[in-house]
């Protein structure tokens, strides 16, 4: 009797243990999966695509420390050290805790030429190779942290007021943001100087967002995945020889639908209702 009781207890404990392990595994997975879903975040230069970055980042903070303690991070007037660009996500930031990010309106990325934050990354979450130019040198202009977007309705340049703060602040002056001249029909004698962002040049450093004079910036950096649309592979630029390459092996396929001999008005009489 005692023997079978023992066995029953053992079985019950085993089943309960497995059940509880499965339960905690599910809760744990659910929680982990939900905290990694935070698309509105700007990562350091050279960061892998967001999903891969979250996997790879070991949350050591070496990038943030390198950013904070770089030689150039000194206030020119006071000679004191400034706050670094990169922050480490804390509890309550609604980001995967311990991962580096930046908020341009607090401190934008100053695009240091030697890129101190990237070579120190031990895990490979910040990919140095993605920042090498043709000469195999580190080139911060290769980085793509995000894309600046102009909200026309709140941008005072679109109202006709002269402002080129973002254009002047851009480290890739007259390349990432250009000014487009347009006639101001309202006054008839002035020009609009409209800031236009070019997404193949813009690195997403956020200097424009910080420089913007409006109460809430009319130009702001969004992560590439959020900021960019996608036309889809089936759209081919017929006038672009390079784009044409994509479809050079395509076979032509003609679909024909048999045309009905009936008059279109006949169906009311012939069909059954």
């Amino acid at each position: 009797m005692n023997h079978s009781n023992n066995r029953r207890n053992f079985m019950a404990t085993t089943v309960q243990s497995i059940g509880l392990t499965a339960l905690s595994g599910m809760l744990w997975s659910g929680y982990t999966d939900s905290v990694k879903a935070s698309p509105l975040v700007l990562r350091p230069p050279g960061a892998l695509p967001e999903a891969d970055f979250l996997t790879a980042c070991i949350k050591c903070g070496l990038c943030a420390e390198a950013c904070q303690n770089r030689d150039t991070n000194v206030d020119k007037e006071t000679g004191k050290q400034r706050e670094g660009t990169l922050k480490m996500a804390k509890g309550g930031d609604a980001l995967l805790i311990g991962t580096p990010y930046f908020i341009p309106t607090d401190v934008p990325c100053y695009m240091c030429e030697d890129i101190p934050c990237v070579p120190v990354c031990p895990s490979g979450a910040l990919d140095m190779k993605s920042l090498l130019n043709e000469k195999e040198e580190l080139d911060i202009n290769k980085s793509s942290m995000g894309l600046a977007i102009v909200h026309k309705e709140s941008c005072i340049a679109f109202w006709g007021i002269q402002c080129d703060a973002c254009y002047r602040a851009c480290p890739l002056l007259d390349e990432a943001i250009t000014l487009e001249y347009q006639k101001n029909d309202r006054t008839g004698k002035h020009a609009f100087l409209l800031p236009i962002v070019h997404d193949n040049v813009c690195t997403g450093c956020g200097l424009c967002e910080q420089a913007c004079v409006t109460e809430k910036p009319a130009i702001f950096v969004l992560p590439n995945k959020v900021a960019k649309g996608k036309a889809g592979d089936h759209y081919v630029k017929g006038w672009d020889a390079k784009d044409q390459e994509r479809v050079k092996d395509a076979k032509s396929q003609i679909n024909t639908t048999e045309i009905s001999k009936q008059d279109s008005t006949d169906y009311l009489n012939s069909e059954e209702f």
């Binding site: 070991i58 903070g61 804390k90 509890g91 309550g92 031990p122």
Partner: protein
Amino acid sequence: MKNIKYLLLRRTTQIGILFFYFAANAFGWHVLEGTFGTSFLFQTIPLADPYTTLQVLSTGFVLGADVLLGAAIITLFYFVVGGRAFCSWVCPINMVTDLANWTRRKLHLDKEEVNYRFLKRSARYWIMVLGILVSAVVGVASFEVFSPITIMQRGIVFGFGMGGAVVVAIFLFDLFGVKNGWCGHLCPLGATYSIIGSKSLIRVKHNHENCTNCMDCKVVCPENQVLHMINKESISVTNGECTNCGRCIDVCNDDALAFNIRKL
């Protein structure tokens, strides 16, 4: 007066290490940079947490050589030197749970160790395995999402934010919930180090001849199942769950416990 030699040594080590990590960010010192996830000693020697490294590797991501080398160095160090010495000599959460434990004794909440059916000291090993599995499934190092250890360390280096709540929660759990609840039952990092250091050289040795059976050592020991030989046999504490904290040596008035090198 009770001896607090090892306690002082441990607190000095813990706070000293944390200070160097803090100074790396605050003053740009190059002694210990980074955090437990990966850090560099004097800008050259990489150090990495083996359990975090395992979590990331389980997702299928091939980590950089520095992290792998760092994890190997740390594993080798604790394999040789002293098992869970990380837990009692380095980990900042140890100060929180020690404080909870001390308060527990002062408030006399400590009378008996409750035997919970599903919260055994072996739970941490299951959590350790589960953490690796969850990391593999979700694709993110799963323990790092809420690990109070790195949250507290990053809190000290970069600022706490709401992360401080996790640390307070651990304190309250250990004080009013389960005795030695976090470090002794749940922490998968401690479980990892228990396994890594189960054969390590530095061990507490009991001298049965001197023991007066006062049981002071068992009262202060956070893992007192490892002290099963007290007043029974003159052998070393060989259980990997011993954190080598040396509190038992401190409180022993009979010279019956001492650190010793294990004979191979």
